[in-house]
């Protein structure tokens, strides 16, 4: 179970995540929102790359930034960047070595097989010994996914995992996610592509300007309408409510005079 309690992140006076409270306990959960909605900031706070201004994130009761929890998570950043002169295989080995419980020293052959299995799973086994600088955008995306699996994580946090993939690649990655779900792993993904969410997520969180507008099942949210239509309705209703509140705040001092 992942709990967000009054999570807030502000850069000086600009609030990018605003009093975010949510509990998630489903196999695949999707944060859905426009670019700049605050999804990446939330994910970076979960994995300990950013400190919240206030509020907490706990996973199974422990703070998510705790080093012990980090051993149980896999994270794929948005538009991943790599050490260009490494090969895909070397990069996985390097990432794996950063976990001190991987037994890589004790059984290097078994670990090599583990890396090969991951690379086969994400479809870049053939390029395992090529330098990353020769990889296409889609291959980089797959390697970013692969490194998130290297420690057999219980929780996976994927930031726009299907960006830059061709239709076949998207299909393959979705299948990998469903396989991981059946293995008992919990997946959080950020996306602005509605079709992905509809297809693989049990629940969604609609994030807009750092606020959580809705959290719950995709089916209940859609209520028989297409997801895109419902998403626009909710976002526009929020925009109207914000404008109304701003107008009221502007008129109130005048009325008081």
């Amino acid at each position: 179970m992942v709990d967000f309690s009054h999570l807030t992140k502000a850069y000086k006076k600009k609030v990018v995540v605003d009093d975010f409270t949510l509990s998630v306990d489903v196999p695949i959960f999707g944060f859905l929102g426009q670019n700049g909605a605050g999804k990446t900031t939330i994910m970076k706070m979960i994995v300990g790359l950013l400190e919240p201004t206030s509020g907490t994130i706990t996973i199974d009761g422990a703070l998510s930034s705790h080093p012990i929890f980090k051993k149980k998570l896999g994270y794929m950043p948005e538009t991943p960047y790599f050490y260009e002169r490494m090969t895909g295989m070397e990069f996985l080995r390097f990432c794996d070595e950063l976990f001190d419980n991987n037994n890589s020293g004790a059984n290097p052959a078994a670990r090599t097989k583990h890396y090969e299995d991951i690379l086969k799973k994400v479809g870049i086994f053939g390029a395992r010994n090529a330098e990353i600088r020769t990889y296409s955008k889609g291959m980089r995306q797959r390697l970013g996914f692969a490194q998130a699996l290297v420690n057999d994580p219980e929780y996976l946090f994927l930031d726009e995992p299907l960006d830059g993939l061709d239709p076949i690649g998207r299909r393959e990655m979705k299948e990998v996610m469903l396989t991981l779900k059946h293995e008992g792993r919990k997946i959080f993904l950020n996306t602005h592509i509605l079709a992905d969410v509809e297809e693989i997520c049990e629940e969604v969180g609609i994030v807009h300007k750092g606020k959580l507008l809705y959290a719950g099942s995709v089916k209940a949210f859609c209520a028989g309408k297409p997801l895109e239509e419902r998403f626009m309705e909710v976002v526009e209703a929020h925009e109207r409510a914000e404008i109304g509140a701003a107008q009221t705040a502007h008129e109130t001092p005048t009325a008081a005079k």
């Binding site: 850069y11 970076k44 994995v47 300990g48 790359l49 950013l50 080093p67 980090k70 051993k71 998570l73 994270y75 950043p77 991943p80 960047y81 790599f82 050490y83 002169r85 490494m86 390097f94 990432c95 070595e97 950063l98 976990f99 001190d100 490194q147 420690n151």
Partner: protein
């Protein structure tokens, strides 16, 4: 410690694949082998040959330290490669220290390559095995490690280009600051001007403490007290710089 070692090892592995580094080393070696021709020009005068060689090693290592110190750490943060590393059980301090020690290993390696070439050329010129020159190269390495620590510290809060400017400035001031104080006292400077020069002296590292080249050129061994003092000075200064770098990096929004 384990994570620091893994990041240091990875940094060494990556940097030695860099073609720019190879280019600098190749030019360094060509420069040292040029001593063979220079020796004939200066009538086989060993002091001239050694001066030429040790200065060359110093110059090329300074270029490598400036290049690595101002780009390696900054690139990892700027290009967000750190996201992969820091989302794993690795602290920011471990990452920064791993980068520092990895870059030190690269410098140690380049010092060793250029040092072996230097000793070989000096031997070839029948000037004997120059172990005093090797001590001078070791002291140069300490200076470069300090230089690296400063470059990494500056990289935690400024861009790569600005780091080059700041680090070069410190390199320059670090070599003249002790002379500045001595000159200021010699000409009877007082009041605010002397205070300003003394403040500079205490803020900037005194890099002259690592210069054992003049002694080595004349085959005079560096006193162990000077060597020990240089090691202690480098250790204290590097510790302070890295502590400050970790403090700044810990607070940085990445």
């Amino acid at each position: 410690m384990r994570n620091i070692f893994i990041i240091a090892k990875n940094t060494l592995k990556l940097e030695i694949r860099d073609k720019i580094l190879y280019g600098i080393i190749v030019f360094g070696l060509l420069y040292i082998f040029f001593m063979l021709f220079l020796a004939d020009l200066v009538l086989k005068e060993p002091a001239m040959v050694k001066a030429f060689g040790l200065t060359g090693i110093y110059f090329f290592n300074a270029i490598i330290a400036l290049f690595l110190g101002t780009t390696s750490f900054f690139k990892d943060v700027d290009r967000k490669v750190v996201y992969f590393i820091l989302s794993k059980p690795v602290s920011r301090a471990q990452f920064l220290l791993g980068k520092f020690f990895g870059l030190c290993m690269v410098l140690l390696l380049t010092s060793a390559i250029l040092g072996v070439a230097y000793v070989g050329v000096v031997l070839f010129e029948h000037a004997g095995f120059d172990w005093i020159g090797l001590v001078a190269i070791l002291m140069q390495f300490l200076e470069m490690a300090l230089f690296l620590a400063f470059a990494i510290f500056v990289s935690t809060f400024s861009s790569s280009l600005l780091s080059i400017v700041y680090t070069s400035g410190v390199f320059f001031l670090g070599h003249i600051v002790s002379q500045l104080v001595a000159d200021a006292k010699a000409i009877g400077l007082g009041g605010f001007k002397l205070l300003f020069v003394e403040i500079l002296y205490y803020i900037f590292p005194n890099l002259e403490k690592f210069d054992a080249r003049d002694l080595a050129i004349h085959a005079v061994a560096t006193p162990w007290t000077s060597f020990g003092l240089a090691v202690a000075y480098a250790a204290v200064y590097i510790t302070l710089l890295l502590t400050a770098a970790v403090w700044v990096f810990d607070k940085k929004e990445i």
